[in-house]
Amino acid sequence: MLAWTIYLSFAGALLEAMLPALLPKGRNAAARWLALAVAVAGLAVAVVGFIAGMGPNQVGPVVIVDVPWVPSMGIHYLLAADGISRVLVLLTGLAAVAGVLFSWNIELRTNEFFAFFLALIGGVYGVFLSFDLFLLFVFYEIAIVPKYFLIAIWGSTRREYAAMKLALYSFAGSAMVLIGLLAAYATAGSHSTGLVALGHANLPVSFQMWAFPLVFVGFAILAGMWPFHTWAPTGHVAAPTAASMLLAGVVMKLGAYGCLRVAIALFPRGLDPWGVSFIGIGSWRDVFAILAIVGIVYGALVALVQTDFKFVIGYSSVSHMGFVLLGLMTLNQIGVTGAVLQMFSHGILAGLLFAIVGRIVYERTHTRQLAELETMHLSKRMPFAAGAFVIAGMASMGLPGFSGFVAELQVLVGAWTVNHWWVAAAGVGIVVGVAYTWRAMQKAFFSDALPAAHVLEKEHSHPFAAITWPEVTGVVLLVGVSLFVGLYPKILLDQIEPAVKALLAGGVQ
């Protein structure tokens, strides 16, 4: 069932690419509606799959399809899903629909844009559903290409630099992953590339000790782990709105997912203490937890001083993804569950924030400089955007009632049982998070600053274009989901918890 998310997306991408041959006229409108139809269909499949997964018995991964692919090499086309996969597939479906809605105004080579967009979505679905390492790697790599083109062709600020940087960081990360995975085969002497089979291979601890950091960092590059995060802000800012939404919303989750599903599940003993400790750091777990906390605080502090509205959101993603990585490093039920929930929550909220900043505001003001936005009195002239940003900002700060609160709280509770200092340091990040969100909100929407007279004349002479239905629909969808999950997190937690439990029991004690 869930496999159809992948096939639908790739079929949609193919159709979009061939659209000029099929349809000489009215191509752009057709491309939009086709993309929306495909995205909605994918979401529908994801929802049905999610509902089917509800129930007490669904603990381990449920195989969806398993056929030999290259039998002599032990490679299978093996798709399966557990609660973690189902939640992230659902997130991908939501991000896809929202992304199409906020790309409704793309006029430049519309069909190509949606072709790359849907191909990226297809690759992301594929990663979340692959239970064969070869297959997972294939989808992971496939996802790199469309995001390169989305930025290089439809991007803005230094798009070619940003696209190349993103692609090279991604390739470097996957090269590290590749080395680690090949080493795992070699060491296990396994004749299968299945995740479960390799997970049972009892790899020697000394091997796991070096394979774990290699694979973890390889994936964490894409999750925006400090200090390998620098692709993220430049990439997010350069990307067109829908691509920023996908980058922050789901692509960064690919990295975090890989950290959990591959690095932690295959090499759990790599997190064991080294036996020696240096200024309180005694294992890879400490190292990565500290990097995650540095990311939380550093991302937040840098977001605090940005002059470009989109960079604020870009750096906030680094900070929020730090919570995911910190949650993973707690290695306990509640912390890891929180990390997965945070992936979902941040996916929704980052999408929403980028949509407001990049699409709703920028397309009307044609500037993202906070200093210029300050003079435009947007709360009065664009009340919908202001209202949406207030809600999104509050959710992003982690106010109770929104999805971010439950997620970050769980991460912090999980971290508390491991090391009090982690929580204290991450808490600083939360406080700064409130500050930068508040600052951006204040400057962009609620400032009383008066513009220079001639600017006033020019800027206020024409009203902004009205908010369009796709924008309203997209905002309502994302806000609604965040609110719903904030008020009733159980619906996701019921799926995540047993899956996390099974995954942690696989190796980590």
Binding site: M73, E141, A183
Partner: protein, 518 residues
């Protein structure tokens, strides 16, 4: 050829080799219709090659064997046969030659001679991929060299003269080394009642029992290692392996693009094939002895090939060095086999590496030929420009060309879902457990290649459109039709590598079972 060789009554392999020669004779006299003759001949050859591929023995041993005495007193036999490796190379040669003829639509100067030479070259490829006796093989190896030389010399670019000469001298020097080594083996294997042998199966049987080295030492002194080095050098020039590669950039750049397609797509595989069919079976222990320097050279070929590609400004030279890089993976996979390893896991790794090498040979052939085909199109449309910086924004005037060339570039980059990925993945999967340092360092090659390809995509397809590209025509219908099956093949292999692996794997298992390194 252990056990009884499967003989087929119908000499299909001979027919396959003779067909292009007949075509060449007709083409020579048909003037401006020569391309049509060449097209028909190459299509027929492809059909025959596919027939060979389909009727391959599933056991992975030699099939369709033809064996007749030729010059018995010299140990020379007419001995042909195919297994999965050679049959795949036949199909590849047929595909690449067809692509090359297809791409050569602007030969105004002596078309008859041009296409006749291309067809002779094809016959040389077929002959050398089916021969099982050194003399016979060497005949065709040389036969392919001569037309290649004249194709560069007569139809090449501005500096074709030195390029052709350099190509010829290097390959000839390699050939001489090969010839001397095999003459030495012939002399050494002579006994009181039998003449010496040049038969690959006979020699590799003697080598696998250790008798060959004793015979050589008895007749000629301790020179076996030097013979191995001579043979390796002969093949290393052809592949090429750093530091024997210096002829390549000039030859690839100066040859007309359709000829470059043949050079890189098919002829470079003769070198890799020679390593697998000739060097390893006969000189296994010697190769194992010097495996560390060989692995270092293979890694250097991978990494420095990619690095050199990054430094080029001429598209043809970019792809030329990138070919060096891609064939470096083959060398890596081959030499890693000589690393001592025991146990079933090691066997699986060796099988993975060798499967990967053979897949990579095929995939690189198709992809590199397609890349140079696109370069030919770019040159035709802009009056001969081929500098990276001379193009820009082509996505706008020529979206279909940009899209299809993009797919081919990504295949070259090794993107999953396209053909290039599978071979490289299997090579790395195998080499990693055999020689992990070499594999790890070679990953650098993957990364640099990715950067090179993305740079090409960025510079050629995006940015402002230069003046001479404003009226750049998109792909014509004929070109789309010609390119569609090539792209289709890339996708097909990318998604279903099993199509090739299932026929290659039995051969791989068979080869590995007969090779002896220690």
């Amino acid at each position: 050829m252990n056990g009884s060789p499967m003989t087929s009554g119908f000499p299909i392999l001979t027919l396959l080799t003779v067909l292009p020669l007949v075509g060449a004779a007709i083409a020579l006299w048909s003037g401006k219709h020569a391309r049509g003759v060449a097209l028909i001949t190459t299509i027929a050859s492809l059909a025959l090659a596919l027939a060979v591929w389909i009727h391959l023995s599933p056991s992975g041993t030699m099939s369709m064997v033809e064996q007749h005495p030729w010059a018995p007193s010299l140990g020379i036999e007419y001995h042909l046969g195919v297994d999965g490796l050679s049959a795949l190379m036949l199909v590849l040669s047929a595909i690449v030659t067809l692509m090359s003829v297809d791409a050569a639509n602007r030969v105004h100067h002596q078309p008859g001679l041009y296409f006749a030479l291309v067809l002779v070259l094809e016959a040389g490829l077929f002959g050398s991929f089916t021969a099982l006796n050194f003399f016979h093989w060497f005949l065709f190896w040389e036969l392919s060299l001569i037309p290649a030389f004249f194709l560069i010399k007569l139809w090449g670019g501005a500096r074709r003269g030195p390029a052709a000469t350099q190509f010829f001298v290097y390959t000839m020097a390699g050939s001489v080394a090969l010839l001397l080594a095999f003459l030495a083996l012939f002399v050494a294997t002579k006994t009181a009642d039998t003449p010496g042998s040049m038969d690959f199966a006979r020699l590799s049987f003697l080598a696998s029992t250790g008798v060959l080295e004793k015979m050589v030492t008895a007749h000629l002194g301790p020179v076996m290692l030097w013979l191995a080095i001579g043979v390796l050098a002969g093949f290393a020039v052809k592949v090429p392996m750093i530091p024997f590669h210096t002829w390549l950039p000039a030859a690839y750049a100066e040859a007309p693009s359709p000829v470059t397609m043949l050079l890189t797509g098919a002829m470079s595989k003769m070198g890799v094939y020679g390593l697998l069919r000739i060097a390893i079976p006969i000189f296994g222990p010697q190769i194992a002895q010097i495996r560390t320097p060989l692995l270092i050279l293979a890694v250097a070929t991978v990494v420095m090939g990619a690095w050199a590609a990054a430094a080029q400004k001429d598209l043809k030279r970019v792809f030329a060095y990138s070919s060096v890089n891609h064939l470096g993976y083959c060398l890596l996979g081959i030499f890693a086999l000589a690393v001592p390893a025991v146990g079933s896991a090691a066997q699986a790794s060796q099988a993975a590496a060798l499967n990967g090498v053979i897949l990579q040979m095929f995939n690189h052939g198709v992809t590199a030929a397609a890349l140079f085909w696109f370069v030919a199109m770019l040159q035709q449309r802009t009056g001969g420009h081929r500098g990276i910086d001379q193009f820009g924004g082509l996505r706008k005037p020529a979206p279909v060309l940009a899209g299809l060339m993009g797919i081919v570039l990504f295949s070259s980059l090794g993107l999953p879902g396209l053909n290039g990925f599978v071979g490289e993945f299997l090579i790395f999967r195998g080499v990693f457990s055999l020689a992990w340092v070499a594999a790890t360092v070679s990953v650098l090659g993957l990364l640099v290649t990715a950067a090179v390809i993305l740079t090409v995509i960025q510079k050629v397809f995006s940015g402002p459109v230069p003046e001479h590209c404003v009226n750049f025509p998109d792909l014509y219908h004929g070109e789309r039709l010609a390119m569609a099956p090539v792209i289709g093949l890339m996708l097909l292999i990318g998604i279903l590598p099993q199509l090739i692996v299932q026929s290659v794997n039995p051969t791989v298992v068979n080869l590995l079972a007969h090779w002896r390194f220690f």
